[in-house]
Symmetry: D2
Subunit: 340 residues, 4 copies
């Protein structure tokens, strides 16, 4: 950590900072410059409280040198993490293809969806039961009944399942039925929920918050890892910007940045990331070209009767076309699709 004092900071305020650093067991190195004094700290700064130093008298700025996450960092664990669940690997050679409806609506719909996406090459079945909806009057999902329907469909078709949870009281129930639990963008900093899923061993699909920096995204993963669950899959799904042609700005650069900073696998969700059906194929291709470990897309057998997010779901025909388009790109980066 580097502490920059204000110009003309009195001697005793500089001494105070030095004393506080020593008290914390670190070694301070004061650098007396022509314009101001800077105090460098030697040692693992992650035990120090930045805000505390920032609040000391005549301190101008405090600049951390190390990144604040440890377990999520590639410096801590150099080799990439591969998460295995059922017969599927995420983060390995094969691109994970997660597909299914935004919401589980009824048995027929989830059955038709599952059969369809499996036949076309998806290896993980998604479906929402607890739905985070912006307004209270929108369809809120089938809840536990939806979890049961999704779980049954996954079992019938031997597919790994993934579904979102929002309430700590649903964690245990859902974890017993569904393979991968998803933490949605709105809950990326719901720290009690992160801690709760950190106590499981199910893989956790953690979506980036709408206004989360990559540092905060990895710190949210760190919450889960710190509780003992090493199976975190990151998911870029777009951030909020001023641009209004798309629902969110899907930040493809997150993929190589996360690959550099962390050992965790990362996938991309072009459905929520754009909010427009016609942008899903080009953005899915871009994601794989940039190194993503998987793609999550909304597929509905009949999007124009869907109960939620109808405008960003592919029908089965379009999902088949997408799989066909993804083949050559996937091979161009020396990876494989589940149905290769």
């Amino acid at each position: 950590m580097i502490i920059v004092m204000k110009r003309h900071a009195p001697e005793e305020t500089i001494q105070r900072v030095i004393d506080e650093i020593e008290k914390a067991g670190m070694q301070p190195v004061p650098l007396i410059g022509t314009e101001r004094t800077v105090i460098a700290i030697i040692g693992d700064e992650r035990g120090l409280d930045e805000a505390h130093f920032r609040s000391l008298p005549h301190v101008s700025t405090v600049m951390p040198v190390l990144r604040p996450y440890k377990l999520a960092s590639r410096e801590t664990k150099h080799e990439s993490t591969i998460i295995r669940v059922g017969n599927v690997e995420i983060g390995g050679q094969t691109i994970a293809m997660m597909a299914g409806p935004c919401s589980v609506e009824n048995e027929d719909q989830i059955e038709e969806s599952t059969r369809g996406v499996k036949a076309l090459g998806a290896n993980i079945l998604r479906g929402g039961a607890f739905k985070p909806r912006t307004g209270p009057y929108a369809f809120q999902g089938l809840g536990r009944e939806g979890i049961d329907l999704l779980s049954a469909a996954g079992k019938r078709h031997d597919m790994v399942t993934v579904s979102e949870i929002m309430d700590v009281r649903d964690v245990e129930f859902t974890a017993s039925k569904i393979d991968i639990l998803q933490i949605g963008a709105r809950n990326m900093q719901n720290f009690d929920l992160l801690k709760e899923v950190g106590r499981l061993q199910n893989p956790i699909l953690l979506k980036r918050g709408m206004s989360a920096t990559i540092k905060e995204f990895l710190l949210a993963a760190e919450y889960i890892l710190a509780q003992g669950n090493p199976n975190v899959i990151l998911c870029e799904r777009g951030i909020r910007t001023f641009e209004d042609e798309t629902r969110n700005t899907l930040c493809i650069a997150t993929v190589p940045i996360v690959k550099e900073l962390s050992h965790l696998p990362i996938i991309v969700d072009p459905s929520h990331g754009t909010g427009k059906v016609q942008l899903i194929p080009p953005m899915a291709k871009a994601a794989i070209a940039a190194g993503a470990d998987g793609i999550m897309v909304e597929v509905h057998p009949n999007p124009d009767v869907a109960l939620s997010d109808a405008d960003q779901a592919l029908d089965l025909e379009r999902f088949g076309a997408l799989m066909n388009e993804l083949g050559p790109i996937t091979h161009a980066v020396n990876r494989t699709l589940p149905n290769d």
Copy 2:
């Protein structure tokens, strides 16, 4: 709602939209333009699903005419809501002054804080027990013990109390001890938590999410109102932008915008809104000048030993100076301070 069809949309796709509108019990009005067809809907569109219409073939855009919240809207309830709790009113003639430490740390600290802020004119005591921290290794608050300490301090000094909750499992306990429950920015769209506090009668202080639009902010309030709790206090605390001189960009315009759109009271938090002690006084003055119903500030008897957010807390001397500065501004907008 206005539905704009794509140029050269086939006749049958236009008819499909018209049929769907009629099926939903509304009246469609097709307008055949020179470049494209537009279909207006007469009736209360809030029962319709925008996304569904957007997903229909050859639909270009869907534009809602009405705002999606009802109970929070000033059109539904014209007179401004005044929330009464203990001997305090929020949204009335007197500016609510909420002050106290970021975190409750121990009995001495909360006692000294309470005595201090009360003597200087605050009428509501704030203090954090459940702390949302970006990283898992930072101090997470005293939890229920902190709630007990805050509650006791409030009782001893006859002050209304406010504290944040994050976990649905803490709602009942906290509501029985603390007057006003706060939903923090990170939980503004934690919908299960919103529903849970919507079943209480305690006033709820709802902070704006870091990347929430004002529409989403009012929809989050609507979640609480829709469950039967009419006592929602809104709080602007800054949004996330590219600017890095401040922790957040405190959006003062939210105050008059919310006053126009909603009947609910709105306060401003310049501590989190800026993250810098020296910006709290000018921004608190700006907030009151713009019509805010209250101010929430972090005050710590000894900020440079605080366990959290030390760099944005006023000491008691500075809080006293702030109260003195706020007097003339408050009177200039024909309102009063609690200690007038």
Copy 3:
């Protein structure tokens, strides 16, 4: 255009809007709703002034139906524009590879750069002579001398050249020496400069402004097209967001969105778009996978002595490696590289 009146708007204010529409030669269609009146306008609304209608008494909102650009729109010209300059096509089957140093520094440096990038497969030579620098004390480029050096290098090696202009007084000089004139992100809304280059026939490479919406981006192109120059190449180079791991947030979705809305070619600049050398290859691959017509990258024979933007330039070895990586992706989307 759709004009939504406020609830309870008096009859005469509605009539006023209707009169104004008729005065402008359009046909108003009033729709009397249960909650408010909406007035639709039939006719080409692009002649109407939105702001004027918004300012009329008791008007709530004004929603345009048509997009405000015409010449740039794919509705006006359906087939994609291919721009031919020298022996190069932009927007056709072959990906345009623009490479060269951030700044032209001296004859040796530009000679070495040109020889290097040409041998490795670039078909357009870039080099900055007029440099927009955030601070006045940074190297501002060689100016017209730099233009002469770039022009000579292009001629020696038979390469098409591109360079940025910032000052209307340099347009004529530069246009006589350089093939493609670049308008940088900071000047995307320098309307006098847009008009000036609109009077040329040289192709114009128009970069997206740091906070420009895609609508504004296409309107800036419209300024050039409206003056008679049809040769506009768009360039996505990142927008400004809260994320600080990269200099800008490179918005790959701009590529398919622009392809849908406009007939103009679009390329991507991953150097400025990320500001980090190691992110250039994955983002260049993502851009081509998403359908970009070209890539612009900074290449310097010796980046660590470069006079500007040293941290985002590839050396020749890395540029060669990039070209090798781009091959399979380019072929996967059925396109070719210049050196195929």
Copy 4:
């Protein structure tokens, strides 16, 4: 400047950084930490090129310690700058009130506007002649004829005038007729224009760019100051964010931040900052409460026939009401209005 090396950086790369620092005439101080080496630089780092050091092998990050502007900095000039023009001071005790129409439209309109705003207490007359319009088909202003009309109106009524310039070729003409030249938000980084007005002695009103950080804003001022013109007035006019209830997010905190970092006066433009007439009064009050040195508002004798930005202009009655509301706030912060 602080240079952080990557973990396990080879000894020779550390030595290279040290050598480069010494070559630049500064003193390097290497700090060998447990996890990585940090090299601090003692001396005035503003002569160093951050990007160069960032491009050296095995450098992880480069953190500047000093702010990059000098002449604009309050560290360089401690007392606040007061700019005197005609009988008006900007930055002194009296709030500058700049008012007038968005565009100068004709002699009658500007005469009526001038008479009106002067009578109600404005001391500076604004009016646009060169108009930056997002699209090429909108009214572009009267150009030099507008400058002549504004100049004449100012002379007739003995008012200081301010008008925007966009093209370097109009600088000399406009500077000879108009007192204060305005650089608009879109041209804040039009560096040739900044240099050109830096050679004048007319005060320059510099508006913050839509996505400019405060650092970049002050660096733009530095461009003008570095050419020899010390008379720069800064103007906050809102930044671009995701919020869509207002045209821009007016960042009131800019006022106290700029006051801390710089000696230059700063005013606020609530017309462009919000884009909504009804938000002008609360935001003007907030600006003055926060310490702004002036307010710029659009006033039109008859907004609903205005040729541009009609929806954000006050009529004379509303401007009079605003002046009445501003009185008590201005006095509460111990300042005066021009008509006090």
